[in-house]
Structure formats: structure tokens, C-alpha cells
């Protein structure tokens, strides 16, 4: 099959070799081990908030102080968690993911794994 992404046979073999390496398996596991649970968590928290806002309007309308309601606080907390997850992931990926990925990419370009 010809396509726009054709590469040499040697390079294709190297991709397979890298994919089957322990280092790559570890990188993939690390990445998925972070992003999958995190995605599940923020989606669950978001839909919990949506369901509360649709079905528990009395609860959301309770005033905590002044005119500040539970709904407003929970809504603002969605902003807080979004910002927090963003910074946490970015820092984690810079520190944990990039060095391992760069190492594998270098190996890939040099053609040797070890």
C-alpha cells in the first residue's frame, strides 16, 4: 500500500524494534497510567456537576454566605480543578515523560536501542 507516510524498510524495522522494547512498553504504561485515570476522574467530576445542576437544583441553590450559592462554588471549583490538572500534568510530563521519550527518539534516529 502506498501512502504519504512511506519510509524505508530499515526504518520500519527499527520502529518495530523500538515498539517491542521494554523501554517503550514502560513509557507507554507510564503515559496511559497517568492520562486514563485522570480523564476518567475529570469526566466523572464534570458529569457529577452537570447532573447536580440539572437534578439537584435545590441543593445547588443553597446559599453558603451572602449571595454565594453551592452551585457557584462548585462551578468555580470546576475551573480550579481544570487549572490544577493542567499544571499537574504539564509538570509531570515535562519531568517524567519527556526524558524517556527523548531517549527513545534518539535511539530511533541512531538505529541502536541499547
Amino acid at each position: 500500500m502506498s501512502g504519504p507516510n512511506d519510509i524505508s524498510e530499515e526504518r520500519a524495522a527499527r520502529y518495530l524494534e523500538v515498539q517491542n522494547s521494554q523501554e517503550f512498553a514502560a513509557l507507554r504504561k507510564k503515559f496511559r497510567g497517568f492520562v486514563f485515570p485522570m480523564t476518567g476522574a475529570f469526566l466523572a467530576w464534570y458529569f457529577l456537576y452537570v447532573v447536580l445542576a440539572t437534578y439537584a437544583t435545590d441543593f445547588m441553590s443553597q446559599k453558603l454566605f451572602g449571595n454565594i450559592t453551592v452551585g457557584l462554588v462548585l462551578g468555580l471549583l470546576q475551573f480550579v480543578t481544570t487549572f490544577a490538572i493542567t499544571m499537574y500534568y504539564a509538570r509531570w510530563a515535562d519531568r517524567e515523560l519527556d526524558p524517556a521519550a527523548e531517549k527513545l527518539a534518539e535511539h530511533m534516529e541512531r538505529g541502536t536501542l541499547q
Binding site: M1, Y15, R28, T54, T69, G71, F79, A90, L104, M108
Partner: protein
């Protein structure tokens, strides 16, 4: 988002001043576009700005792309009129970015070249998958484009005092023509700079207004709410439920919002304008902070407009609900601030439309023309030539579509864009990035199934017929009951992707290895161009 209603009468502010400020914006940005586009020669320049933007620049540009006129005027207006429900809406638009950050942006940047289809067809059968991805790209872009152009008519009425249809049509044509010029001269590089400038102006303008409102209330949110309640005569504006009466419908909308963003082709294409996946990550971080900050501003602006202008005055104004932010600007800073905010609103339409046009033209030239029709036997120069011609055609179609859609219920166009993006694009993007056994049949089932089911459900929804606010109020062929198809079409599309894949044996081990290693390590990813 909210429909920009065609207004009936009166006009606030100084039309000449509005036009003057907008003209300055056009001249300045045009100058910058010409300057940065001197080396707009290669395909990577035209489609991806040479991949030379920094994460911060791209993050600001993404913000510019994402905060469309409907989002700027619509959300502020929704909060002003319906209170809490407008705020609720903005949260979905923000949280959606975490999907892009965690699952899509970096892997897409490492794997693809110019378009969404590059990634989806990487390890599957090129032509059928590319065709389907290009059709979905064009469909989403068309709905989004039409919504922006249709909204322009309402804005014109509000900001320039042009209320007759012919006058509005001329302004729509001028906006469209300007946009074509930006795209032709600037390509992705010029368009990105327009987005950056626009995002800066928008956030600065909204920030100034927010501080202004805040200062009036001693930065006491509760005090602002007090006044808003008094003005509205209804304490329910702080509670959910004023705008969204149908609970299932709102959940359906929430699904489309949170999953749609990471499937919008014009957003995805922006990740190719940076040199590495690390910069793609940085882009999303910047975008999330800026978009989040902006939505926090709209919370204050919306309630501020309710407290200081009043929802009755807003609804009665030309432009209806969408006039909340401009009316608040007028109330606070008089003609000058209104002029600035008006110019920002126009710049918003211009910039978003330019981004959509680049995406649509890239998808046609790169995917359909070069890969499907010519089977890859096209020089990059010829491909770019086709892309430029397509941009002109798309621009003309957008003008015509905008003129005809002027005054239409545009809410359904934006909802449709998000619903199609969430159901036709996102499942296939996630499957192809993460699921080893995903096949061509799975991709086609999911993409066409998502597209067709969301279209069919929208046509059968109350948005199109059966109620007084429908697109066709006199006809009644609605059967679906919900305004948004997401709750059905998104799970259906995920299911179809799975079903198609388990009934077919297809595995290109070499391509899969290349894609997976490339996506996670960046080895072999497209490099930036240095001039």
C-alpha cells in the same frame, strides 16, 4: 450557542467611531500579515505556519480561534438574561480542553502533518478513511463557518446601525472578502497572527470591563449579585434551571460540549503550527488558562450587565441577548469603549472565519485532491495552489451562505458543529491513537455513523421544526424531542467503531509500530521549517 437575533430598531454608540476603530484593526493586522508572510512558499508554511510558532504564541492563537463571537457575546448575554445557566454552559467549553490536553494534542502533533485525516488514515486504508475524515472536516467547518457568518448580520445591525437586509449583506460580503485576503496573503502564519492580536484585544477588553464592574462593587461578588437580583426582580438568576428546561437535553448538550472541542478540525490543525509535541502541550496549557480566565470575566460581565443595564433593556436592544456585553461597555465607558468592544467583536468573526477557511481548504487540497484524487502524485506547490483556490471558493460560499442564513436560528449550527465533532471525529481519533485492533471498517462505521446519526437527529429535533423558535416554525416533522443529539450519537459512534473493528481482521503491524512510536516519542515527526 445563542442565536444572534435580528433586531428591529434603535442604535447606541457612534457608528463612525465603531467603523474607524475596526478599520484601524484591519489595517494594522493586514500590515502584520503582509510582513510575516514574505516567506510563505512551502506547503508547511501555508498549512502550518512553518511549524515555527512557540507554544505560548499558539496557545494565544488557539484562544483567539476558540472564543468566537457566539462565545464572547453569547455567553455574556446568556448569563445576563438567564443567570447561572449561562455560566454552566461556559464550564463545558473549558473542561473540554482537558480531553485535548491529556489525550489528543501531543500525539496528534507527533503523528500528523497538516490535517486531522493524516492521523486517522495513518495505519488504515488511506483513501476511504481520508475521504471520510475530509468529509467530516468539511461538514464541521461548514456548520461553524455558517454560524459565524450568520452571526455577522446581527452584529452589524447592533454595532453599525445597519438594519436593512441589503446593507447587512454588503457588510457580510466585506467581512468575507477581507477574510479571503488574509488567508491568501497570510496562509496559516498570517491567520495565526490575526488570532493572536484578536485574542489579546478580547481578553484585554473583557479584563478592563471586568475590573470596572468589580470596582463599582468594591470587588464584592455577593454585592454584584444583590444588584443583579434587584434589577431582575428574580432571585432565581443565581440558580440553575432558568434556561435549560429539559434535563436530558442539557445532559446531551454537555456531552457534545465536553467531547466536541478535541474533535474540531480547526482546533486540531493548530497543533501543527508548533515545532514539537512539548510545545503542543504548552499551547494547550496557555489556552486553558486564557480561556478559563475569559470565562471567569464573562461571569462578572454577564451579571454586571444584568445589574447595570438590566435584562429587559438587553432583550429589547438590537441584537437581543447578544447585546449584553456591548451595552455594558457603553454603560461603563461610553462610545469609546463600545467602539473598542465592537471592533473586537468584528475582529473575532474575521479571525475565526479565516481559521475555518484555512482548515477547510487544507482538508480539500491535502486530503481529497492530493491523496484521494491524485493518489499522492502532486507536487507540494500544486497542492498549495489548489488550497488557495479552495480558500477563495470556501470564502465565496461562506459569504453566500452567510447572506442566506442571516437571521436564521444559528444556535443549531454551532450545536451541530460540536455534536458532529464529538460523534463523528472524536471516537475515531481516540480509537486510532489508543486501540491496537482498530480497523478501517471501524473508522468508517464510526465516522459516517456519527455524522449521519447526528444529522438525522438534528433534522428531527425541535430546533429545525415544530416550535415557534424553530428554523421552520410553520412545518412540523420533529420526532426526536431533544435539541442536541450528543446523548445518542456519541455512544452510538463509539459502539459502531468497536463493532466495525471486531468484525474485521486488519492489522498493519509496521504502520502501527511507526504510528505508536512516533506518537509517544516524536521520532520521525514533522520538523519545523527554519527560514
Amino acid at each position: 450557542m445563542n442565536a444572534i437575533v435580528i433586531p428591529a430598531a434603535t442604535q447606541v454608540g457612534n457608528t463612525t467611531l465603531n467603523i474607524a476603530i475596526f478599520s484601524i484593526f484591519v489595517l494594522v493586522t493586514l500590515g502584520i500579515v503582509i510582513r510575516v508572510s514574505k516567506q510563505n512558499t512551502s506547503a508547511a508554511d501555508y498549512y502550518a505556519g512553518g511549524r515555527a510558532f512557540s507554544g505560548r504564541q499558539n496557545g494565544i492563537a488557539i484562544t483567539g480561534d476558540y472564543l468566537s463571537a457566539a462565545s464572547f457575546l453569547g455567553i455574556a448575554g446568556a448569563i445576563a438574561v438567564n443567570g447561572y445557566d449561562g455560566f454552566l454552559y461556559s464550564i463545558g467549553f473549558l473542561v473540554a480542553w482537558l480531553v485535548a490536553l491529556l489525550l489528543v494534542a501531543e500525539l496528534l502533533r507527533n503523528t500528523g502533518k497538516f490535517t486531522m485525516a493524516d492521523v486517522l488514515s495513518f495505519r488504515l486504508k488511506q483513501r476511504p478513511v481520508r475521504t471520510a475524515a475530509a468529509i467530516n472536516t468539511l461538514a464541521v467547518s461548514a456548520f461553524y463557518l455558517l454560524a459565524q457568518m450568520a452571526g455577522a448580520g446581527g452584529l452589524v445591525a447592533l454595532l453599525l446601525g445597519i438594519t436593512d437586509r441589503t446593507g447587512q449583506s454588503i457588510v457580510i460580503a466585506v467581512v468575507g472578502a477581507l477574510m479571503i485576503i488574509y488567508v491568501l496573503i497570510g496562509g496559516m502564519k498570517g491567520t495565526t497572527w490575526v488570532q493572536i492580536i484578536k485574542a489579546g484585544l478580547l481578553i484585554f477588553g473583557a479584563g478592563v470591563m471586568t475590573l470596572w464592574v468589580g470596582a463599582k462593587y468594591g470587588f464584592n461578588l455577593s454585592g454584584l449579585f444583590d444588584d443583579a437580583i434587584k434589577q431582575a426582580g428574580n432571585s432565581n438568576i443565581l440558580n440553575p434551571g432558568l434556561q435549560y428546561k429539559n434535563k436530558i437535553d442539557f445532559i446531551s448538550l454537555s456531552i457534545a460540549l465536553v467531547l466536541g472541542t478535541a474533535g474540531l478540525p480547526h482546533v486540531l490543525m493548530r497543533f501543527y503550527t508548533v515545532p514539537t509535541s512539548k510545545e503542543a502541550r504548552r499551547s494547550v496549557v496557555w489556552a486553558i488558562w486564557l480561556i478559563g480566565l475569559f470565562y471567569l470575566f464573562t461571569l462578572v460581565l454577564g451579571y454586571g450587565a444584568q445589574a447595570l443595564v438590566g435584562s429587559a433593556a438587553i432583550k429589547a436592544a438590537p441584537g437581543g441577548v447578544n447585546s449584553a456585553a456591548p451595552l455594558l461597555a457603553y454603560k461603563l465607558g461610553g462610545e469609546l469603549l463600545l467602539g473598542v468592544i465592537s471592533a473586537v467583536a468584528f475582529a473575532t468573526i474575521l479571525a475565526v472565519v479565516a481559521g475555518l477557511t484555512i482548515t477547510a481548504s487544507a482538508s480539500f487540497a491535502h486530503d481529497i485532491y492530493a491523496q484521494v484524487i491524485k493518489k499522492g502524485a502532486v507536487s507540494p506547490d500544486e497542492e498549495v495552489k489548489v488550497a488557495r483556490r479552495t480558500a477563495v471558493v470556501v470564502g465565496i460560499l461562506a459569504i453566500i451562505g452567510g447572506i442566506f442564513a442571516n437571521g436564521q436560528n444559528i444556535a443549531f449550527l454551532v450545536a451541530l458543529a460540536f455534536a458532529v465533532a464529538a460523534s463523528a471525529n472524536l471516537p475515531t481519533i481516540l480509537y486510532s491513537l489508543f486501540w491496537k485492533n482498530f480497523t478501517t471498517r471501524g473508522a468508517l462505521f464510526s465516522m459516517y455513523g456519527g455524522l449521519i446519526s447526528s444529522l438525522v437527529l438534528i433534522i428531527g429535533s425541535p430546533v429545525v421544526s415544530g416550535t415557534a423558535t424553530s428554523m421552520f416554525p410553520s412545518a412540523n416533522f420533529q420526532w426526536f424531542g431533544l435539541n442536541n443529539p450528543g446523548i445518542i450519537s456519541v455512544p452510538l459512534s463509539f459502539f459502531l467503531g468497536w463493532l466495525g473493528s471486531v468484525t474485521e481482521k486488519e492489522h498493519n503491524a509496521a504502520k502501527y509500530a511507526e504510528m505508536e512510536v512516533r506518537s509517544l516519542t516524536g521520532a520521525g515527526a514533522e520538523k519545523a521549517i527554519s527560514h
